[in-house]
Amino acid sequence: MQQNKESTATHSTHQQSGPINVDHKDESERSTRPCYQCGTCTGGCPIAKRNAEFNPRRIVQRFLMKREDRIPSSSIWLCLLCHTCIERCPQEVKPSHVIVALRNKATQDGDVKDYIREELNQIYATGWTIPSMPAIAKRRETLRLPPAPTTNVDEVRNIIKAMGLDRFLGDRKEGEAEK
């Protein structure tokens, strides 16, 4: 039971502007509290091995010390979310889930990566992350597959709007002047 609780708990460090407030800040701190800074997460991390800027042990430390301001914003986007750190941690801390929470916070503060903005736009437009292409439709026919699935895009848009994410739609980044 403890694990299940933690899996939901580590995700959000902030107040949501949408209707679902998953502000589990206290619980997420509890879930990192057992961290004794052994560095197993960093030792097993395929990115830390290649890029000294990325250090999950230090990210967990600063999160735990409430010094998120000292986590370089670029570092949290280096994570693969491969969750190797979660498997290796002897204390059942979930460093990659802490990173998801930090990414959510960065987004709330207006730092949305271009590829994620594009993905959201595409989901809003069609319900899928990938646009349909006539060439693929033809390949499907050749393979005797049914036409590609369609979704109820209005329902998808309703959820995106209800969650307040429609503010990220469109090309322009927040704060950019209109031309």
């Binding site: 994570c79 498997e87 994620i116 699935p149 959820i159 209800a162 994410l165």
Partner: protein, 293 residues
């Protein structure tokens, strides 16, 4: 006969229909009945959308699960990303009543409600646990003896294992056993559970391909003739990734990449054309020549 609600996701139907064709054909041959989930959307992506907003990720995922609940069937996913999202959302919302209530408030605007009455399964669980190695062996008509395969599970079918519960995350075996059911050999290789690198393509392409290169190097060192994968994102990373590595002068490999149902399809006597093997960027001819020599 087992019946499942089929969740196709984005990449498989809209970019890699060869994966869909092989999965449908192999499952049909194994008497697994699939009913398509009408009006399902993107799972949504456990990397981009979960990083953007956890609550939206939960809500869009929950909406998809309600479609299977209406069909009264467990969900079958063909992709690790879809599996991680839908399984995690399903497990979290089944257990966390207050979060479920909040998500249902959002879904109620669509006339939907998450009830928590179905399970989410990855293709490999259905093949290994429902169908079983014995039945797969019975369907083999072309023995793939002589083929050395590097089994690549991919991150999001294994980790976090406390939620996904598919196999031992450090020493997984079930894909190896399914590969060997065809007569092929699943070769041991270093970095077997290393990520393919795809999830950071959007932010650090060089590091992303560096991981891909590492995987290929290790597979070749173990004399693999191909990769066998479980996920369209891993498939694309190895297939397109090798083309990218070649054009950037960082590698010269052309190791074919097979989706597990493609390997099974070949062993079941299906031909390259009906499996869509011609759609791979890295040609599979060297492998097929080895099988049919």
């Amino acid at each position: 006969m087992k019946e499942y609600a089929l969740f196709l996701g984005c990449m498989i139907p809209l970019r890699l229909p060869n994966m869909e064709a092989s999965a449908r054909k192999v499952l049909e041959a194994l008497d697994v009945k699939l009913l398509d989930m009408m009006e399902a959307s993107c799972c949504p992506d456990p990397i981009g959308i979960q990083s953007l907003d956890y609550a939206t990720w939960l809500s869009l995922g929950a909406r998809n699960i309600t479609i299977a609940e209406d069909m009264n069937l467990d969900v079958l996913t063909l992709c690790n990303g879809c599996f991680e999202t839908l399984k995690t959302v399903n497990e979290i919302l089944k257990k966390d009543g207050s979060l479920r209530e909040k998500v249902n408030t959002v879904l109620s605007g669509l006339g939907r409600s998450f009830k928590g009455k179905v399970e989410v399964k990855h293709l490999i669980e259905v093949l290994y646990k429902d169908v079983g190695v014995r039945k797969i062996k019975e369907n083999v008509v072309t023995d793939l003896a002589g083929v050395n395969a590097a089994a690549h599970y991919g991150c999001h079918v294994l980790r976090p294992s406390s939620i996904l519960k598919v196999d031992n995350p450090n020493e997984p075996r079930i894909l190896d056993e399914l590969v060997e059911a065809t007569g092929a050999r699943s070769v041991p290789y270093l970095k077997k559970t290393l990520c393919c690198g795809a999830t950071i393509r959007g932010t650090s392409k060089d590091t992303s391909l560096d991981l891909t290169y590492e995987k290929i190097k290790q597979a070749k060192r173990s004399h693999a003739d191909c990769f066998v994968v479980l996920c369209p994102t891993c498939f694309n990373q190895f297939d397109t990734g090798q083309v990218e590595l070649r054009s950037s002068g960082k590698g010269d490999s052309s190791l074919p990449v097979l989706y597990l149902p493609e390997l099974l399809g070949i062993a079941f006597g299906m031909n390259a054309e009906e499996l869509g093997l011609g759609l791979h960027k890295i040609k599979t001819k060297s492998l097929l020549d080895k099988v049919f020599q």
